[in-house]
Symmetry: C2
Subunit: 386 residues, 2 copies
């Protein structure tokens, strides 16, 4: 009966770190379909490449790929490195591991800086591992698997201060829109993002912004679909090399309109507030923050309390209230939960998600003061108004 | 005024060979968004892989990629060939050229059988170019750039009759749904398709079906996003390696429901009838068929009449009536038009498109008997009822 009630009255809601909720205007815009080789479409496409710039903090239009974020990560590796290149990779979770796998598959010679899950790398440690031959440094902004945000600005500053003139590549897939990115000012060369994260779009598009240094550094490794040099050349004129996901491009046009209307500073501020309110709520529920020294503004990871089955807890949230909250992966499976407040999410969404976590935690047998988490978040926002 | 009238009363309509019109049910289904790592989604994903089988004519579930058709072509090359492999490629247009470029980029050693644009290769000619070391033969089913359909069944039969036991790879991107594909019975190893063609979906998904021989032939070339071995393993359980284009998967589920309801034999028969009616109409308009010896059932290509500017003709169709008809590419630019009747297109769509071509042709100064093309198509269908 409880399940039936849920089915009837609660639409599914997403609190996983991608995909994120899609605004109704974007859903509507995404039903549009025009011929991708028409001037009309190419104009839209070009305007999207250009209007992505402020999000990345760069003067160069972004490149749009029809692929997941992983495809965009691969595009950077195959377009900007060669076999035998020395590269530096930070691995502090599943997505750092992905950089490591990618550069290994493409036969670079990586030095891997391992970071304990839930922590961020120290800028000086990266500097220590540079060599005169390091061609590229690969890091995350947000390590989505642990909820840790890496100090990208400080890392880039330290690398450049040491005299490093190679490439700095940042996977900002789950951080763009939640955390500031200012790649030109910070002297970063390639930043990767994905549609289903801060953009409130379905998955299917990925974005790569490139610095002038990167644009002058294309290598001639075998590649075809993920050839950034080719895409850069064509997309400046609105032409993608291969058929793009047209419906998602229309959605992107709409979501960029919304974001420009709201203003990027406000969007960043909103994410800071949602993250801080969420952390206050989680701690009020007696939960321990997992990435406590470097918490992300895109998602909040907390440890599953002793005696609670983390997998069952989230299954219950899903079954009873139709909400998707992500669990831990690999070594963290069942040990943490990852609650996202990324994209088009309001404080009312957050308190609904927190309320569901509270109710389900009590049903799983935890003695908690139901509603205290929600109350604490509301109190936090009341004391820290816009 | 005419343009204004068009803007107000005629929605854009697609008669280009992809993207194709999207049924309203599919548009609606594509607005759905659930977490891609949930059991619910994985069940849907798995059912799509399985329900694609009858379209390919195979017992093996298809692999779904979030990419354009070109990405799927690349996935076959990087997953099933190695550097220095001898391969045979048919190049009779832009898409044959794409196979050629792909195998060259990935350092195979191709023998290229050139076919004049608008014609199809002779099965015996392919057999003549086989060597004892040929690992794979790459062909199109439909050469979309010319409107030629290649006799896939006869080609495969001739290759196998000659004792060839290597791989046969078919780009059926614009033919699947319009032309029969029976890969198991015809002993074909890999068939590639794309969402925006016969499926009535937006672009963004591509499909690869693999034979048992192909599944036993994966190579260990560097690859990551387009690793078919990895996808095959995971997708059997509904898990794609990378985040799939969730909204398009929901659309795919719906379009497969529609196609299964209608029945695949009926869908093929519908395409035969649309193609034959279109050809009758084009000839009645005094237009010469371009691929007259091997016309596709997905699109009809005709020569632009003497004294008519082909580019202007199609621009007028677009501007006045909101319809996209494709022109020729490269050496055929301005010389042919390509009128698609692929996917969810009825006889009423076809006559609208033909009528627009007639009206615009007259406006471009051609002396034609307006309406004769439409009348001829209707007469053809009346004499050849379902």
């Amino acid at each position: 009966m409880a399940e039936y009630f849920r089915e009837l009255f609660t639409p599914d809601r997403l609190f996983c770190p991608g995909p994120t909720p899609i605004p109704a205007e974007v859903v509507k815009a995404s039903t549009c379909q025009i011929y991708h080789r028409s001037e009309e479409f190419q104009k839209i496409f070009k305007s999207c490449c250009e209007d992505l710039r402020p999000l990345f903090g760069t003067k160069n239009p972004a490149v749009i790929l029809t692929a997941s974020g992983t495809g965009a990560m691969e595009s950077v590796v195959v377009s900007l490195t060669s076999v035998q290149d020395e590269v530096l990779v930070v691995n502090g979770g599943k997505f750092g591991e992905r950089w490591e796998k990618l550069v290994n598959v493409y036969q670079c010679r990586p030095t891997v800086v391992k970071v304990p899950w839930g922590e961020a790398p120290q800028p000086e440690e990266l500097v220590r591992h540079l060599t005169p031959h390091t061609r590229a440094v690969f890091i995350q902004a947000n390590e989505t698997s642990t909820g840790a945000y890496y100090p990208v600005k400080e890392i880039a500053r330290a690398l450049r201060a040491s005299g490093y003139r190679g490439l700095i590549v940042v996977d900002a897939i789950s951080s763009l829109g939640a955390h500031e990115m200012n790649m030109d000012a910070w002297d970063i060369d390639a930043v990767v993002a994905g549609s289903q994260k801060g953009f409130g779009l379905p998955p299917g598009l990925a974005f790569v912004a490139l610095s002038d240094r990167a644009l002058a550094s294309f290598t001639n490794r075998p590649k075809f679909y993920f050839d950034l040099a080719k895409e850069w050349k064509g997309q400046k004129e609105g032409r993608s090399a291969w058929t793009p996901a047209i419906s998602l491009i229309h959605g992107l046009r709409e979501t960029l309109n919304l974001m420009h209307q709201v203003g990027f500073d406000k969007i960043l501020e909103q994410h800071r507030r949602m993250a801080e309110g969420t952390r206050a709520a989680m701690e009020a529920m007696g939960l321990e923050l997992f990435a406590k020294n470097c918490p992300s503004r895109a998602l909040t990871s907390v440890k599953v309390p002793e005696g609670v089955d983390g997998v069952q807890w989230l299954k219950r949230v899903r079954r009873r209230f139709g909400m998707y909250v992500a669990g831990g992966q690999d070594e963290l499976k069942g040990k943490i939960i990852r609650f996202s407040h990324l994209g088009f999410i309001s404080q009312f969404d957050v308190i609904d998600g927190i309320a569901a976590l509270e109710l389900a935690l009590a049903e799983e047998g935890s003695k908690i003061d139901i509603g205290h988490g929600v109350k604490t978040a509301l109190g936090y926002w009341a004391k820290n108004p816009w």
